[in-house]
């Protein structure tokens, strides 16, 4: 071993007995030289001892049986829908039981009532946004009323606006000096992040509802962007900017990815 590892590098291995002989020797030297580090090590051991007192309540056999049944139903439904279109869909619903069918019918009634009520009220937005979540906890099957063209425009607008934020972050590497030098406006960045975050979930639902590989890829990209936006939107001040550190290295890559994907959604 050529380099003497830091105490912090050795601590996890020491706590779990995973140090090599050389590493253990270095670690023992640290402990012998500093009562503070010795105390630190003991405290970490005590913390892990508290964590060992964790108990796990176990689910009953009914949970496992229900899970197996649900997945069996699901597999049957998906294989039938692959081979038989609308007829298979009806069979799948039957096999899932009357309860599920009733739930679906109620959801459909609610949706139709919602649409009817919505049409009676003058809309502020030109694009209707209505979703039916059919037994979302079981299947995540979503039906959307947003047209493909509209979705494309939304994705494009979202990526364009995100790319501006990512470009600012990527260009400065989020270092405080660089950010100050280029008048990085944290208030504006936060506001933009908040606005975009408001659109994120809706957009992801729409993209996942389509289930095509392109849509899933876009949804994954939106999820990546979301993690960055969340961090920016929660910053209290410029001095907290270092907390966005884990994303530094990926910033440029993410920005490039957004730029490439933008080309795919040109009108």
């Amino acid at each position: 071993m050529t380099r003497r590892p830091e105490f912090e590098e050795l601590l996890p291995g020491a706590l779990y007995g995973q140090l090599t002989n050389d590493e253990q020797a270095f670690f023992d030297e640290y402990l012998a030289a500093s009562p503070e580090l010795q105390r630190d090590f003991e405290q970490a051991q005590e913390t892990l001892a508290v964590m060992d007192r964790r108990e796990r309540p176990q689910p009953g056999p009914a949970f496992w049986q229900a899970l197996e049944n649900r997945i069996t139903d699901r597999s049957r439904a998906s294989s039938q829908s692959r081979s038989g279109g609308a007829k298979a869909e009806i069979v799948a619903l039957r096999s899932a039981g009357l309860k599920r069918l009733a739930r679906f019918a109620i959801a459909a009634c609610l949706l139709i009532s919602g649409i009817l009520i919505g049409r009676m009220i003058p809309a502020e937005r030109s694009v209707p946004l209505a979703y039916v979540d059919r037994d979302a906890s079981a299947n995540n099957i979503l039906v959307s009323s947003v047209s493909d063209a509209d979705l494309r425009n939304r994705v494009r607008s979202y990526l364009e606006r995100s790319s501006l934020l990512l470009m600012a972050g990527g260009r400065t590497g989020l270092s405080q000096a660089a950010l100050s030098a280029c008048d990085f406006d944290l208030g504006y960045q936060k506001e933009m992040s908040h606005q975009l975050l408001h659109q994120t979930r809706e957009l992801q639902r729409e993209l996942y509802a389509r289930q095509g590989s392109d849509h899933v890829a876009f949804a994954a990209l939106v999820a990546e962007i979301e993690s960055y936006l969340l961090q920016i939107s929660h910053l209290e001040s410029m001095s907290d900017i270092t907390s966005v550190q884990p994303l530094h290295s990926e910033m440029e890559e993410l920005f490039c990815q957004v730029k490439c994907n933008l080309a795919d959604v040109q009108p």
Binding site: E9, A44, L48, R54, W64, L197, R201, A223
Partner: protein
């Protein structure tokens, strides 16, 4: 057409029986991992369901390059991180709604002596405090900690499971332990361990 249908049915049966076997053999491992990650039985059950649905959908394409347990760890952690992202976003929306309400905090750790002995048993309180301490970790830190501390995986193995270097595993684990140390410091006082200083 008929033969294609039969072929598809037979494949479904094969996948179905392989899945049942996998579920029986690994369900405890997946549930334990899910509970350690989420810290809540209902959430763990939801996560287990997500994981096995993903497993079922991907089973036909599983080539056996990795051990099933490794594959399941990876799916569980990824599903957990996905769910955390969704929850974090929901929380961000909620915090916007209550931006001026200072009383809103998602992960309030208890003050020393602030527990209510009438409403909870001591054991229940410990479990709650441990869950809250785990909730202070980022999803990645929690995944690494859970895999090492509760699933007893070697650091190298954790790195392979999560697709990160061993150095990153050590760093995440170190930060996780530090946060837990801080979050549970009141316990050391309670247990008299602080007097050693």
């Amino acid at each position: 057409m008929q033969s294609r249908q039969e072929e598809s049915d037979s494949r479904s049966i094969q996948v179905g029986s392989a899945f049942s076997e996998l579920l029986r053999q690994h369900r405890q491992q997946v549930y334990n991992m899910a509970f350690d990650l989420t810290g809540d039985q209902a959430e763990a059950e939801d996560l287990v369901q997500d994981v096995f649905i993903k497993v079922f959908n991907a089973l036909a394409s599983f080539r056996g390059d990795a051990k099933p347990s490794t594959w399941l760890y990876r799916i569980t952690v990824n599903a957990f991180i996905d769910r955390s992202r969704t929850k974090a976003f929901a929380a961000s929306r909620q915090s916007e709604d209550f931006r001026d309400d200072r009383s809103y905090q998602s992960y309030d750790l208890p003050e020393h002596g602030a527990s209510n002995p009438e409403s909870q048993t001591a054991s229940g309180q410990i479990q709650q405090h441990i869950s809250l301490a785990l909730a202070t970790l980022s999803p990645q830190q929690r995944a690494v900690f859970v895999m090492r501390h509760y699933q007893h995986l070697a650091l190298k193995e954790i790195g392979q499971n999560l697709g990160i270097s061993e150095g990153t595993v050590k760093s995440l684990l170190f930060r996780a332990i530090r946060k837990l140390q801080h979050a549970l410091s009141f316990y050391r006082k309670e247990l008299g361990l602080e007097e050693k200083q």
